[in-house]
């Protein structure tokens, strides 16, 4: 145990260039065929610093950390660890040297217990019993409580991340890599994570921190290295930069600023949900509990909340993936639609963008034109008397490509071949081009780079300005603050009363996300009184 809390030899300020950095890459290059994922990247990591790596999707961040963790072998260049050149044969080798990693999409095993998951991330021949005892100590020492006997599928996202972090800490790492750790956390959970990270830094460990959230990087990190198109653009002190200047370096130009049209007028309600309750569709799903809200034309309602509090279930109930027995629970354009199928709801003028891009919003191995057809078949010119009008489907792809700046290798590629941001622009574009009266969109910019996110947010604002009712579910509070007129919070299948965005402070939203109510009458409203 002592080994874990001991202070590592540290250089107090990481800029002490007279000494050797903990980790240094020299001309690190990774080539996939003709594609240069990393193009001679030089980076120095010093003990006791939190070093951010910033960049858009596809800038080469993941490849870089995979090379440092031994998951991919560089095509050229060197990695120096504690001043000596090393070849990392694999993650086990990296772990042995003191490099730990917390993955963005957790590297956990759902059907195994917490203790088993931790054991799988450790090397050596510690007995399972000793390991469990040490797990309890480490998790307690860092204030990251875990029940070692529970299986992972039973745990929340925040708890899952705790497993990853504790597993990495069990190795007593000198250097810890975190890949977008706050993407799935509530603001409060993220704050707790920052406390842990500050403490690790104080213990003299180095941290490599990948994030899209620039404010977070400015607050937490000592150094930032910015990657663009596989190359290093700049290494800077993020505290001396502004979020806008960091974003400029990432994108290599100005980011289009999102602007709401002024004086948006709201019209009659276009989407009304009346006392919607729905038993969970699968075991351990969330029960929707007396949800009511009204959404007018020209308005954007944001739904915040920690993932797994009923957002998926609400989306399914609105889109018609799950039907309600009472038609009046969901009213689209004045027509009770709770019992109507997805296609019937689309015919009423509704459009839906689910969270998962591949497999839910699109069929990954089908072409974009075929994917356009999947949601557009009922209410567009793409199908005539049961026959597909290929030209019309291709035209839809072309228009979406042009309007929403979808970058792709050929005219009509498979959905899976697009990057996340470009695919998301296509999906949102596909729905917006149908001129929906109501658009329900879930996590519109999850894992999407800043440039694409701005395009998507602007498109949603423009759609609302044109008179549509837009419902946005998002875990990114900044995003909701930017585009929504009102924000409501989901917790345990209930929806809070919407707050006007101007009144919705982070504290208020954070409290609601954690299940506390602001005022008694609001709690009563949420309970369906």
């Amino acid at each position: 145990m002592q080994a874990h809390l001991r202070m590592l030899d540290s250089t107090p300020d990481g800029l002490n260039s007279g000494e050797t950095p903990l980790l240094r890459t020299i001309g690190l290059t990774k080539r996939y065929g003709d594609f240069l994922a990393n193009d001679s990247i030089d980076i120095d990591i010093w003990p006791g610093e939190i070093h951010a790596v910033l960049g858009e999707n596809g800038a080469g961040k993941s490849t870089l950390v995979k090379a440092i963790y031994g998951l991919v072998q560089p095509s050229a260049g060197e990695i120096h660890w504690q001043g000596r050149p090393v070849v990392l044969s694999g993650p086990a080798d990296a772990r042995k040297r003191g490099i730990g990693m917390v993955f963005q999409h957790f590297s956990l095993f759902d059907n195994l217990t917490v203790a088993e998951n931790v054991a799988l991330g450790l090397d050596g021949n510690e007995s399972f019993k000793d390991m469990s005892a040490r797990l309890a100590l480490v998790s307690k020492a860092y204030g990251l409580p875990l029940d070692p006997r529970r299986e992972v599928w039973q745990l929340s996202v925040g708890e899952r991340q705790r497993i990853e972090i504790v597993r990495a800490l069990m190795q007593d790492p000198k250097f810890l890599i975190l890949d977008e750790p706050t993407a799935v956390l509530t603001p409060q959970e993220a704050d707790q994570l920052f406390i842990v990270l500050e403490r690790l830094k104080a213990e003299g460990r180095a941290i490599l921190y990948i994030s899209h959230k620039l404010e977070e990087v400015k607050r937490l990190c000592d150094t930032a290295t910015i990657l663009r198109g596989g190359r290093k653009v700049e290494t800077c002190n993020p505290r001396r930069e502004t979020a806008a200047s960091l974003a400029r370096m990432m994108v290599g130009g100005e980011i289009r600023e999102v602007k709401a049209a002024s004086g948006r007028t709201t019209t009659a309600p276009r989407l009304v949900v009346n006392d919607l309750s729905l038993a969970p569709g699968e075991a351990h799903g969330v029960r929707l509990d007396h949800i009511s809200f009204e959404l007018r034309g020209g308005e954007i309602l944001g739904i915040a909340g920690v993932a797994g509090n009923g957002q998926d279930e609400l989306f399914a109930a609105l889109s018609g993936e799950r039907l309600s027995k009472q038609p009046a629970t969901v009213v689209i354009e004045g027509t009770p639609a709770g019992h109507l199928s997805i296609t019937q709801r689309r015919r009423l003028g509704a459009a839906f963008v689910p969270e998962e891009r591949l497999g839910h919003a699109t069929a990954p191995r089908m072409k974009l034109s075929e994917n356009a057809l999947l949601t557009g078949h009922a209410a567009s010119g793409m199908v005539h008397r049961g026959f597909i009008n290929t030209a019309a489907a291709l035209k839809t792809v072309d228009i979406a490509t042009e309007t929403f700046d979808v970058r792709k290798a050929k005219r009509d590629p498979e959905a899976a071949s697009l990057s996340g941001g470009n695919l998301q622009k296509f999906i949102v574009g596909r729905e917006i081009l149908r001129n929906p009266a109501v658009l329900v969109v879930s996590q519109p910019t999850w894992g999407v780079d800043a440039g694409a996110a701005a395009v998507i947010r602007q498109a949603l604002l423009d759609l609302a300005a044109a008179g549509a009712a837009v419902l946005v579910t998002s875990q990114d509070l900044d995003e909701l603050a930017e585009i929504a007129d009102r924000i409501a919070v989901m917790f345990h299948g209930r929806l809070s009363a919407p707050l006007a965005t101007s009144e919705a402070t982070r504290e208020k939203i954070g409290l609601l996300m954690g299940g506390s109510s602001l005022e008694p009458q609001e709690a009563a409203y949420a309970a369906g009184a």
Binding site: P91, F103, L120, N125, A283, H284
Partner: protein
């Protein structure tokens, strides 16, 4: 009394090949690989096992031949499904078709030949105890091996680190890869173990069950073994129960005909599959959010490097 003993003995004999083959397939599937070629590996194991025993005069050598034949067959599968990332279902079905043809070819010269079948244990005194003596102390080596095998597999899966890693590969190969485990190598070993077991199970038929070789003598036992793995919900303990239950049904169907019970024998033959369907329904009803089947079962994995 003697009838009961005879029935138990014949149930054990009918169940043993199911248990051996299913134990191997259970390990394969726990690593995330669905090898539907069990029937094919078994039948080649039967032909080669008989050939080995006939040529050498030793049942033991015959069993080794069967195991090696099963492993070779499984390596064909591993090359296709793991090395070349071909669809596992298609590859498994092709393996069975290949196996049926191959076993006919190998066994053609041996049809009509006889060998001395595997000897049964005899412990003076113990084996002579009425009712249970022969059941417990008078079996052939295959029966004892099958029990040891399933106990060993249980111990391996739940009590060793290697077993934990194998289960991890079956649950999420991307995570296992990210942590640095050689997923494809681990799966190849699991497939080979499945092949060895299927080959041994196949060899059991001409070496112990009947002392001669007939083309097509596995008669669908490989498919029952596959159903059995699902029936057991991928747990070794339930696998033993299921194997003896399925074995009992096959024997019962013979006796039922003898006793003139009016249940069509075809219905009895279909019972194991029917039971599997019922279990699948029960599993999906009771599923508690976690996954009963290995979550990565049957999915293709191609590591980046």
């Amino acid at each position: 009394m003697e009838l009961v003993e005879a029935i138990i003995l014949s149930v054990l004999a009918a169940s043993t090949p199911l248990l051996i083959a299913a134990t191997g397939e259970l390990v394969t599937e726990r690593s995330g690989v669905l090898n539907l070629g069990v029937e094919g590996m078994m039948i080649v194991g039967a032909a080669c096992g008989f050939a080995g025993a006939w040529l050498s005069g030793s049942v033991f050598i015959g069993a080794l031949f069967g195991i090696v034949a099963g492993v070779l067959m499984s390596l064909v599968f591993a090359l296709m499904a793991l090395g070349l990332a071909v669809n596992q279902v298609a590859t498994g079905l092709a393996l069975t078709i290949l196996g049926v043809g191959l076993s006919g070819l190998i066994g053609a010269g041996f049809v009509g030949e006889r060998i001395t079948p595997a000897v049964h244990l005899h412990i003076p005194g113990a084996t002579d105890i009425p009712l249970i003596g022969r059941v417990l102390f008078g079996e052939d080596g295959f029966v004892y091996v099958s029990i040891a095998l399933v106990v060993g597999v249980w111990w391996f899966l739940y009590r060793t680190r290697a077993g934990l890693i194998l289960r991890a590969c079956g649950d999420n190969h991307a995570s296992a890869h990210a942590l640095g485990y050689p997923v494809l190598r681990i799966r190849t070993f699991a497939v080979m173990f499945g092949g060895a077991c299927a080959g041994l199970a196949g060899a059991y038929l001409p070496l112990a069950y009947t002392p001669f070789f007939v083309p097509g003598m596995t008669a669908g036992r490989g498919w029952i073994a596959l159903a059995l793995v699902v029936f057991s919900s991928w747990r070794p303990g339930r696998l033993v129960l299921g194997a003896y239950l399925f074995g009992a049904v096959t024997i019962l169907q013979l006796h039922a005909q003898g006793w003139g019970v009016g249940i069509p024998s075809q219905f009895m033959s279909a019972l194991p599959y029917l039971a599997t369907v019922v279990v699948l329904v029960l599993i999906s009803r009771e599923r508690s959010g976690g996954s009963t089947a290995p979550a990565a079962l049957g999915t293709v994995f191609v590591p980046d490097c």
